[in-house]
Symmetry: D2
Amino acid sequence: RKQSKESIITDIRQTIGSTYGGNYKLRWVQQPRSVFVVKKPSSESTEKAFVELISWLHDKYPQLNIIIEQETTKEFQNKLPFVYIIPEGQKDEYTRVVDFVVTLGGDGTILHVSSQFDHSVPPIISFSMGTLGFLLPFHIRQYESALESLIKGDVSLLLRMRLMCSMWNAERKRIVWNDKEIGILGNLQAMNEVNLHRGRFPHLTAINCFVDEQFLTNAVADGLITATPTGSTAYSLSAGGPIIHPSVQSILLTPICPRSLSFRPISLPPTAKIKMKISEESRAPLEVTVDGRVEMSPYPIPCVNRVGEGVDWVKDINELLKWNQNFVNKQLLTHWW
Amino acid sequence: RKQSKESIITDIRQTIGSTYGGNYKLRWVQQPRSVFVVKKPSSESTEKAFVELISWLHDKYPQLNIIIEQETTKEFQNKLPFVYIIPEGQKDEYTRVVDFVVTLGGDGTILHVSSQFDHSVPPIISFSMGTLGFLLPFHIRQYESALESLIKGDVSLLLRMRLMCSMWNAERKRIVWNDKEIGILGNLQAMNEVNLHRGRFPHLTAINCFVDEQFLTNAVADGLITATPTGSTAYSLSAGGPIIHPSVQSILLTPICPRSLSFRPISLPPTAKIKMKISEESRAPLEVTVDGRVEMSPYPIPCVNRVGEGVDWVKDINELLKWNQNFVNKQLLTHWW
Amino acid sequence: RKQSKESIITDIRQTIGSTYGGNYKLRWVQQPRSVFVVKKPSSESTEKAFVELISWLHDKYPQLNIIIEQETTKEFQNKLPFVYIIPEGQKDEYTRVVDFVVTLGGDGTILHVSSQFDHSVPPIISFSMGTLGFLLPFHIRQYESALESLIKGDVSLLLRMRLMCSMWNAERKRIVWNDKEIGILGNLQAMNEVNLHRGRFPHLTAINCFVDEQFLTNAVADGLITATPTGSTAYSLSAGGPIIHPSVQSILLTPICPRSLSFRPISLPPTAKIKMKISEESRAPLEVTVDGRVEMSPYPIPCVNRVGEGVDWVKDINELLKWNQNFVNKQLLTHWW
Amino acid sequence: RKQSKESIITDIRQTIGSTYGGNYKLRWVQQPRSVFVVKKPSSESTEKAFVELISWLHDKYPQLNIIIEQETTKEFQNKLPFVYIIPEGQKDEYTRVVDFVVTLGGDGTILHVSSQFDHSVPPIISFSMGTLGFLLPFHIRQYESALESLIKGDVSLLLRMRLMCSMWNAERKRIVWNDKEIGILGNLQAMNEVNLHRGRFPHLTAINCFVDEQFLTNAVADGLITATPTGSTAYSLSAGGPIIHPSVQSILLTPICPRSLSFRPISLPPTAKIKMKISEESRAPLEVTVDGRVEMSPYPIPCVNRVGEGVDWVKDINELLKWNQNFVNKQLLTHWW
Ligand SMILES: NC(=O)C1=CN([C@@H]2O[C@H](COP(=O)(O)OP(=O)(O)OC[C@H]3O[C@@H](n4cnc5c(N)ncnc54)[C@H](O)[C@@H]3O)[C@@H](O)[C@H]2O)C=CC1
Ligand SMILES: NC(=O)C1=CN([C@@H]2O[C@H](COP(=O)(O)OP(=O)(O)OC[C@H]3O[C@@H](n4cnc5c(N)ncnc54)[C@H](O)[C@@H]3O)[C@@H](O)[C@H]2O)C=CC1
Ligand SMILES: NC(=O)C1=CN([C@@H]2O[C@H](COP(=O)(O)OP(=O)(O)OC[C@H]3O[C@@H](n4cnc5c(N)ncnc54)[C@H](O)[C@@H]3O)[C@@H](O)[C@H]2O)C=CC1
Ligand SMILES: NC(=O)C1=CN([C@@H]2O[C@H](COP(=O)(O)OP(=O)(O)OC[C@H]3O[C@@H](n4cnc5c(N)ncnc54)[C@H](O)[C@@H]3O)[C@@H](O)[C@H]2O)C=CC1
């Protein structure tokens, strides 16, 4: 039943160079017919909001098919008898069926949704439960007006770049990632970063790193992060990386505790194809036994913005990250009394 | 006589979003007819190479008009009687007349050439005099083969993004920069960075910084660098900034000795229009009396590459910057004996 | 009239290794007889407090001689007819005569007092005018009880290490510093840091740095800071240096914008004698034409603490410097709801 | 038979404040009678050197008792029938019996020896097998002359400070560390650092950190390093910490990937008693289930120096760590041609 939509959804792609990130105006070719509502697990307040929001959607937009995650169904089949699920093993249907996604929870809930979509991702609107998050433009209190605007098509979207990562074992065979079988064309899609880390192995690891098949460096470190601009404010930031605006098209390489005084983060162009090979000597640890290839994914995450995205972002780095909190502002003033 | 060429030269523009940096194949629409040869001042070895290279060019390509800087003419009018100069005050002619530029010297010589071109810049080929430099792909020994390839059109170009900066005084009037009269449309074109610095003023300065008319932060610091990807390996790097590949389209904001523990470098999209206002209190120092507006210039610097530019760049960050020089490689080895 | 006191005052010395910094209990051998009251210039509120505090002191302790700076006399000779001054050119008297110092103003006022004492320094009690400062344990509102405790001898002192710096010109002659004639034995005493900086000279400087006559490194940079633990939270912190507790006996070397990826701050033992020679090539700039020798001064600054000094310091780095302001505390909580 | 020596050995203590680190001249009160020779496991070249050095010692100093580790005995009982071992469970004998220690291997071998001595440590002389190490002043080729000087008493010792760490479980009971039963008075003695790390737990940990019973900060991070000056060039350096000269008496606190823009390393005085409590929420991970208390140990590691220790150290930070490798030295030169 979704044929006519597919062309639209698969439009949400990013081609390198033909465009940079930035904001886009949403335009529905056809009224949205299916929504996927996802919530963070085991939080009472989130559950309450989940039931309320879904009931409101069902009342207000009776034509809309509401899909929830299989894990959540059991608890809610009484309260929300009208919701659908996509059976286990058919998750590829998500891309084909879902017109937009609603998340309730924290930044982690959006990351979880991202990991469910191996191909094109429909627009995502994310609500915080009170606690601020970097990827959460809306407060749950605003859900009615926010969803109305989205369904009307009266919102702008920020296309957040993702990374596409494939893993290979020592015999050069493609391997599964995180116990999740990956099909012939399937790849891990990372919204924040791909991270090779020594894990519990107490010793340093050594990772040979190539860009476009050219040897770049040997990273002797706790780990190596390949991050998206979105991920630049996550783990990479803690490891000392710069802040990259989500509209910049770039892949960021940040080492974790490198055994070198001169390892500075590097921002590579979106064309870069990065290959990481664990050095023979470091193969012992379970966490890092494989080699990875990382490149820009053609499937970004389209996130619904509140105001202009630029505005949100500046607010976020200042309020959430407490960026550049001068400690002499007040003292400085006293010099000019 | 150059009408037919103009269209080509003015083609070397960068529009935001329509393209990222990266490499381009050079194609001459018409044989190049004028070359501008620039050298670093007061170096004997450079002078010798200057005379030799120009004489060779004149012999091999008698049709080619060879232009040198007015400052250099007096010394060389005997040895090189056939060269041309562009009279003082007509420097805007450079863009119209020059088909390609040759520089002999260090990175500073290319920066100097960049500052002479307020509009489109023709391809630049840069020779080092033996000492390596970040912007110097060719060694002077290779000048014959390198110039032949360029004139044949058998080279690739890296479009290095520039910043366009205008300055305004407290009365909101446009002002001159560096004693150089800037015309109604003229702007400073920066290849590395625009830098507001306290200079010899012993106290901190405070700069209010806006992005796209939105207040971003108040930088209480020694200074604030707005750098191109090319400039990311210059001053910004010393101030703690990341390395940005020249093919990434981005504007980098790096503070110099900020009075804040939390001021991390920020990479902004090429669309960003940055405004910096010296706070009232800090207006005293001469070096920083003006407000600046910085944005991506439509006029990049097309630099002739040696091999593929990617290859050069990886070599440069490893060899010149000594990036990620592990200090335990050898020790690590001993663990696996 | 101060003979009996001298022995005490010259006791406030620090010998390397025989003690570390840390807190000391003040004990007056004889009642204090002279106080030196210093205020920050051109601030109306400070002037009011200055007059009030001095009048209170004079009323309450009529035996106490109150000394003020010559610059301040003219303005206050009507309001405070009973104060003394030390004539210009006899500043060496300060050490002999003054029993304790009171400062009103900011951190800069204490730094100014420090620069007035080339030898032993009497205890200093510092009042902020409302604006917090790193070196200001007391708020002006508390002046009565604070001064009473001090005069009773009921306070603890933190001995803040200073650096002793001498300058030499290219002909290896001792030279004056900051237009201030320095006597045969005189040396600059620095409470925060000694800093060689390129100033307004637009180019990098190169400084050869020796420790105990052994070549340490060649610093190609904007400048090089040699800081005390106290100074670790001043300029050195902005340049990327660590925070050193004032009770640690150590000399900190922090580069300013070094042209090197691998220049990390170094904490040297208090025995270290540091020599800095501007490289021949960089001698041009006025700001940096001399060579400096820096070592730990035997004359620390004894600062009156409020509570235990440890307590103040932890409060200061957290409140003033906003050290380690986690940005995910709240988010983290949400994970455990 | 060692009674007379004990007083000397237990002299190798460090009391806070009464002394700083620095170099000491070794003086034997009585000829050394027992040596403990330790080697790195599973390295053929080390084994060869081990047999050769022990045989030479036995020939040259037949009175000297040579002790080796129990693990090593089986392999060497044929080749070195005259060596002694200390039986398992009597490791406390080491301090009482051993007059000096010889290590063959890398930095790790010295760290291993340090972990074997819970109380006073006799002088240690360390030989590298060719690969340089930060704690290895001697090359194996020099073993004859180096050991002769040491036995003659003709060497200087650097007292490397250690940290003393005890662990407590949630019920406030002392617990074992690393599966090693720790006696009533026993504590972990750390030569490099005590490190709380999230290990394989994929989430951030939160550590409440107290200094001298006063709350310092809540570290939300991958981990928190408490390092000695010796350890400042180990893990702490990779995490961004400063370099602390081994003669500085200080405890360094360096966070690993903190979720904060403003977490700067802190150098605390040797008096500091540090307590770290894993926050309730983060108790899950095995690697970090306990609370730790860390303070300066009274038992430093006396390391035999080659020349003056200062000289070695400057050489090491320059050669091994490649500290401050300017990348423009050569370019800079070209400016002054
Ligand atoms: N990301 C990192 O930098 C990590 C560092 N380490 C360090 O490794 C040490 C344990 O050593 P191994 O068991 O041999 O581990 P390892 O096999 O992982 O090697 C650690 C490296 O650090 C060097 N090293 C050790 N102590 C040093 C010191 N004081 N100064 C300079 N270099 C030093 C060693 O020579 C070796 O190259 C720990 O104490 C910790 O400091 C441990 C884990 C991660
Ligand atoms: N980029 C920077 O951070 C710069 C810092 N400075 C510092 O300023 C000091 C001189 O102070 P002013 O004449 O008042 O200069 P100023 O008017 O430029 O203000 C310097 C600021 O540093 C603060 N400060 C001074 N000593 C401090 C300390 N020990 N710990 C923490 N904060 C401290 C002052 O409260 C004031 O807010 C110098 O000793 C130097 O350390 C000077 C120039 C640039
Ligand atoms: N502390 C620092 O690192 C400072 C750096 N500079 C840089 O110097 C540049 C001006 O150059 P000069 O007039 O020759 O000054 P200069 O004579 O002070 O030398 C600057 C050095 O930077 C190198 N350099 C220039 N552009 C570079 C680039 N894009 N990537 C890597 N290295 C580069 C040059 O080869 C030269 O070694 C400025 O654009 C600024 O970026 C200027 C002042 C201080
Ligand atoms: N030392 C560190 O900073 C570490 C960071 N992480 C980050 O955590 C992410 C996974 O999140 P959870 O499963 O919730 O882990 P988690 O429960 O350990 O929390 C990670 C924190 O990072 C925040 N966060 C996530 N994405 C962000 C973004 N793009 N910008 C700013 N903040 C962001 C979350 O709000 C949360 O506060 C990973 O993608 C990684 O980036 C993971 C391990 C260590």
